[in-house]
């Protein structure tokens, strides 16, 4: 009953919840500026023209000619610049902060005026063993590579927002519609004559006796009786369980009494030679990258495990993405540059850059370039956008870098 009361109160509370003025359409949190510098503001100064503004707008004795520089920002057009509005502005006394945006939003704001390309949004990209790229969302740009350990690492670029608003319209036509319609009275007469059967459908009985053609033979069940004489099993005692895996409960040493005859001594000594070889002093020395692997422990027993301390290193691939412009109109061409560099201390290989182009961008054929040898692929995975893929065939040594570029047209 208490649960019911609580639930009912919650439902009632939801009914009286009125959305406030701040309930603006939520902006996805992934629209965050990453590494992209905001465009520098250009300060426009326009000579304010003094003119008298009268309540009665009929006065024409003072021709207030406002010569506005072509496409320049007028002094009283406020766009969120810092400081108080200029004198004469009806908003005198109101001081908006610079680059105002609602509390809790992430730049660039508003996101619907920008084309975001780059980074790894929504689902995290992962690479399968067959090098298939999964969870590559639209406008994602990632790079994956192999390390000397055989691991596959995935890095994402920064996001490159480009200001490119696009508009459309919804139209409705209202008015009286004149419909011309002619209604006719239709009359149809159809005399249906009763059709009479002239014939008679007689009921026929067909009886057919299905009889076998002939007896071919009789098959009777036979009782198989086969006697398998028991074979003589020699006295062989096998291991019921797999003896390759030692159970935890079992010791590594199988102790049993062994009677050694004098005739077996030579065979034992012969077999003992390989065992002596696999001791610590005579074991294979492991050297990796010029470093002698240190034996951290050896269990002196058959089937022992030996651990080696590997020299640790960092494999890092730094990748950045830049756009040639921070704002564009439909039809403009943007050149994107993806730079990558091995900033770790290990050799890496199979560097592959994957870029899922935004649907507002149209890839220009044959515009891709790469300063390193590799293969380029353009995959039309979906009907909305294309995926670009660069497979760098060269290994990337420590400190080495590369650049790939491509051009897109803004839709």
């Amino acid at each position: 009953m208490r649960i019911v009361v609580i639930v009912c109160l919650c439902s009632v509370g939801c009914q009286f919840h009125n959305p406030t003025a701040n309930d603006i359409a939520p902006i996805p949190p992934q629209y965050g500026i990453e590494g992209q510098q905001a465009p520098q503001p250009s300060i426009q100064q326009v000579q304010p023209i003094s003119h008298q503004v009268s309540a009665n707008a009929q006065s024409t004795t003072q021709p207030a000619v406002r010569r506005v520089p072509a496409y320049d920002l007028p002094y009283d057009a406020y766009t969120g610049q810092p400081g108080a509005p200029a004198p004469g502005n009806p908003l005198m006394g109101i001081n908006y902060p610079a680059q105002w945006m609602p509390v809790g939003e992430v730049r660039p704001w508003p996101a619907d005026e920008y084309i975001q390309n780059g980074g790894d949004k929504d689902q995290q990209v992962n690479i399968r063993k067959n090098w298939d790229v999964h969870n590559l969302d639209e406008a994602d740009t990632v790079v994956h590579y192999h390390t000397v350990d055989g691991d596959v690492r995935v890095n994402a670029t920064n996001s490159t927002p480009v200001y490119a608003p696009r508009f459309a319209a919804v139209r409705r036509l209202d008015g009286t519609h004149h419909v011309k319609r002619t209604e006719l009275v239709g009359q149809a007469t159809l005399d249906l004559e009763r059709r009479q059967f002239t014939g008679q459908a007689l009921e026929e009985q067909v009886q057919q006796n299905q009889m076998p053609g002939r007896n071919i033979g009789q098959q009777t069940t036979q009782l198989f009786a086969e006697e398998i004489p028991p074979t003589q099993f020699k006295g062989e005692t096998g291991v019921i369980e797999d003896s390759n895996n030692f159970k935890a409960t079992e010791g590594l040493q199988v102790q049993h009494d062994v009677k050694v005859d004098s005739a077996d001594k030579a065979r034992l000594s012969k077999n003992a030679l390989p065992a002596e070889d696999w001791t610590e002093n005579a074991a294979v020395q492991v050297v990796i990258d010029g470093f002698i692997a240190k034996d951290v422990g050896t269990m002196k027993a058959s089937g022992a495990t030996t651990g080696y301390q590997m020299p640790e290193g960092r494999d890092r691939l730094e990748i950045t993405k830049k756009a040639s412009t921070s704002d564009a109109k439909p039809g403009d061409i943007i050149e994107f540059t993806i730079a990558y560099k091995n900033v770790g201390d290990q050799l890496i290989g199979n560097v592959t850059i994957v870029d899922h182009i935004h649907r507002r961008l149209q890839f220009i054929d044959d515009s891709e370039t790469s300063d390193r040898e590799g293969n380029f692929f353009m995959l039309d995975e979906t009907t909305d956008s294309v995926v670009l893929r660069w497979e760098i065939t060269e290994h990337l040594d420590i400190g080495e870098s590369g650049v790939v570029t491509f051009k897109c047209r803004v839709r």
Partner: protein
């Protein structure tokens, strides 16, 4: 013994019924909550929850001003794009200017209704139209590039023909959402239009596609002039007229606003 069994049976039955009643009430409450949450979520995605296209011109923009933000006082640049040869003139200082050819740009305040005059219509010489524009939201372009990214308001030939035929044309211009943008190349001389039926609200439809920013209305009503002064009887809001370099500046471009004290 028998009485105790009967009593236990009744108690068990009572508990069972109560349990079923509890489950039913919880299910109803949860369903109600889920529907309300879903409705709220749908409403939250809309920019104009409490506005419809049937509101009087200017009301939608005025309601936007109450939401806060740097909307009041901002002259949002707009660009009027008409068919080739058509002339467009703005109304300011309670009179229409001489209509000019080519695309016209101006800065308009949010929440006000601006009147235009369209003349020199193709195949309709001598006929005129008087559309109105209501800017209901603004853009936030990079600083210094505000007038490079105006709101394009197209008046295409179909709008003109429909208005001259006696229909009332309502055109809601919206900012397309990038995530659901169409994979088509945009053109400067053509604006993609979605026609809706008479029963649909174009403002709500545009709100689902993106963010509505302006409303264009074209009707058959003629502006009323004062016979004594020859000026419009309606008040014209402040207008920021933009001209290309080398263009002839009109003789009067007065940003008058009723009620403002003289300097």
């Amino acid at each position: 013994m028998r009485n105790s069994l009967l009593a236990m049976n009744r108690l068990a039955t009572k508990r069972f019924v109560t349990h079923r009643l509890l489950v039913t009430m919880v299910a109803i409450a949860l369903t109600t909550v889920s529907h309300q949450v879903q409705a709220q979520q749908q409403q939250r995605n809309l920019h104009y929850r409490n506005s419809t296209i049937n509101m009087a011109p200017g009301m939608i923009g005025q309601s936007q001003l109450y939401r806060g933000g740097p909307l009041p006082g901002y002259f949002q640049p707009v660009e009027i794009i008409t068919p080739v040869g058509t002339k467009v003139g703005f109304a300011y200082n309670q009179q229409f200017e001489t209509p000019l050819m080519d695309d016209r740009k101006a800065g308009m305040l949010i929440g006000h209704t601006y009147r235009l005059k369209v003349t020199n219509i193709f195949k309709h010489s001598g006929e005129e139209l008087y559309p109105t524009i209501e800017v209901i939201d603004r853009l936030y372009p990079p600083r210094g590039k505000e007038f490079q990214y105006p709101i394009p308001i197209h008046i295409d030939q179909r709008d003109i023909e429909s208005a001259l035929a006696g229909l009332f044309v309502t055109r809601v211009i919206y900012l397309e959402a990038p995530a659901t943008a169409l994979q088509v190349q945009d053109r400067r001389d053509y604006q993609r239009v979605t026609d809706v039926g008479a029963q649909e609200d174009p403002l709500r439809t545009a709100d689902r596609f993106g963010r509505p920013v302006a409303i264009l209305r074209i009707g058959s009503r003629l502006p009323v002039h004062d016979p004594s002064t020859g000026k419009l009887k309606v008040q014209t809001p402040p207008l920021l007229l933009l001209q290309k370099p080398g263009a002839v500046t009109p003789s009067e471009i007065n940003q008058t606003q009723p009620g403002r004290p003289a300097r």
